[in-house]
């Protein structure tokens, strides 16, 4: 009668998925802070989104509540918008300075 899709997770199993999400988020943050290539910097923000999404889906299964999964759709929307705008700006900067180095933009002035 009961299928596994209808049962919530045991807390330690949820902790497994939260761990994966935390590791992805922390690695994304390290990459965001250390890499100097602007494209990789924005790729690392996408990886932080991935960590958050894993956490959201795990918690949605734990609480038996699909709102967590619905929220992932909005996260995806924001990620797509961010990718389009950020990459447009990166191409603009590349056309201006002929480099993707974030350090070359350390003194921004008019």
């Amino acid at each position: 009668m009961m299928t596994l899709a209808e049962t919530g997770l045991q807390y330690p199993v949820l902790a497994h998925f939260l761990t994966t999400g935390a590791i992805l988020f922390a690695l994304g943050m390290i990459g965001f802070l250390t890499r100097r290539n602007l494209i990789i910097v924005f790729l690392c923000t996408e990886m932080m989104f991935q960590g958050v999404v894993v956490t959201l889906v795990g918690l949605s299964k734990y609480h038996m509540n699909v709102t967590g999964q619905t929220f992932v759709i909005f996260v995806l929307t924001i990620a797509a918008c961010e990718a389009a705008l950020a990459l447009g700006l990166v191409v603009l900067m590349f056309r201006r300075k002929r480099t993707l180095d974030s350090l070359s933009w350390s003194q921004l002035s008019g």
């Binding site: 049962t7 919530g8 988020f25 990789i40 990886m47 389009a84 990459l87 603009l92 300075k97």
Partner: protein, 306 residues
């Protein structure tokens, strides 16, 4: 009557709280992982990739050894096979994530990120969130990453053939790796520590509800803490007898698939958010077109003219 339901629900919550013990293992694993990522970072002086890889795997094994001890096997919530697949997909996604932030060539970083997306889609399938898995693969792997690929190809540094192996200087040298990794390791240790000490350790918190009596508060909280349907039917059996379960059978929700549940939830509970998401997409569409049409003077031209 309500006391009986409480007892039944309390019995079923007891198995949920396993002994989650000392956080020292988490700190050791975080430290090992941080050292491993530091050794794997692109730098000029040292190139201790082998030691970094070994340390990173040791960190993962420590963490998972600790994790798998906390499991009690009778009621996982996912099948045992799915639990085994968790380790496979999680290992792939973490290793690929490390490669994303340590690879010297941007195009390979993007390809490793595709692997992160695919393996986390696998994680979603083990959680029986099939729609999210497909959406991840199609939107992330299919659309966003293709945009990244195009930009990497548009903006790649076309150095001479003698520099082809090395790549640009900004790709081969990390910026302040030590401090960033300390910050990242601390963040991970704190997050893991919070998640391995659940707030309801034995004595569940009683949240205020709108119920009329205090015992109903306790009842609702217990129910919210453990919302599995088996607990509901166990409560019905305990209070009203096994015969009464048939009366509730007709009231059960129809069996919905994952995508139907998400669709209903999205359009019933969040219509305004959906509209706002559409507006945000439109704004970023216009913004992207405006940015793409902007004429940019090359800085070398400006300097030569001045």
């Amino acid at each position: 009557m309500s006391m009986t339901i409480q007892n039944v629900l309390a019995q079923s919550t007891e198995t949920q709280v396993a002994g989650l013990a000392s956080p020292i293992v988490i700190y050791i694993a975080s430290l090992l992982g941080a050292v491993a990522v530091y050794l794997l970072m692109p730098k000029n002086r040292f190139n201790w990739r082998f030691i970094g890889t070994v340390l990173g795997l040791a960190s993962l094994v420590t963490l998972w050894g600790y994790l798998s001890k906390t499991i009690s096997w009778q009621d996982l919530g996912i099948t045992n096979a799915a639990y085994a697949y968790y380790y496979v997909f999680s290992a792939i996604s973490i290793i690929a994530a490390v490669r994303v932030i340590t690879h010297r060539k941007p195009i390979y970083s993007a390809l490793w990120f595709v692997l992160v997306v695919l393996s986390s889609a696998g994680l979603f399938v083990t959680l029986s969130a099939q729609f999210m898995a497909f959406a991840m693969v199609i939107i992330y792997g299919g659309a966003i990453l293709v945009t990244y690929m195009f930009v990497i190809m548009l903006a790649s540094h076309s150095g001479g053939p003698e520099h082809e192996d090395e790549g640009a200087e900004y790709d081969t040298h990390a910026r302040e790796p030590l401090f960033a990794i300390i910050a990242g390791g601390l963040l991970m240790a704190v997050l893991l520590n919070v998640w391995f000490t659940p707030a309801n350790d034995g004595s569940p918190t009683i949240y205020q509800t709108n119920a009329q009596s205090k015992s109903d508060d306790v009842l609702i909280n217990n129910y919210l803490n453990n919302r599995a349907e088996s607990a509901t039917s166990a409560a019905i059996i305990a209070v009203e007898g096994e015969e009464a379960l048939k009366n509730y059978a007709g009231q059960e929700q129809p069996q919905l698939t994952n995508i139907e549940k998400i669709g209903l939830n999205l359009f019933n509970a969040h219509p305004l958010a959906l509209e706002i998401a559409g507006v945000i997409l439109l704004i970023s569409l216009i913004g992207a077109i405006v940015i793409a049409r902007t004429q940019v003077p090359d800085e070398d031209n400006i300097k030569s003219r001045a």
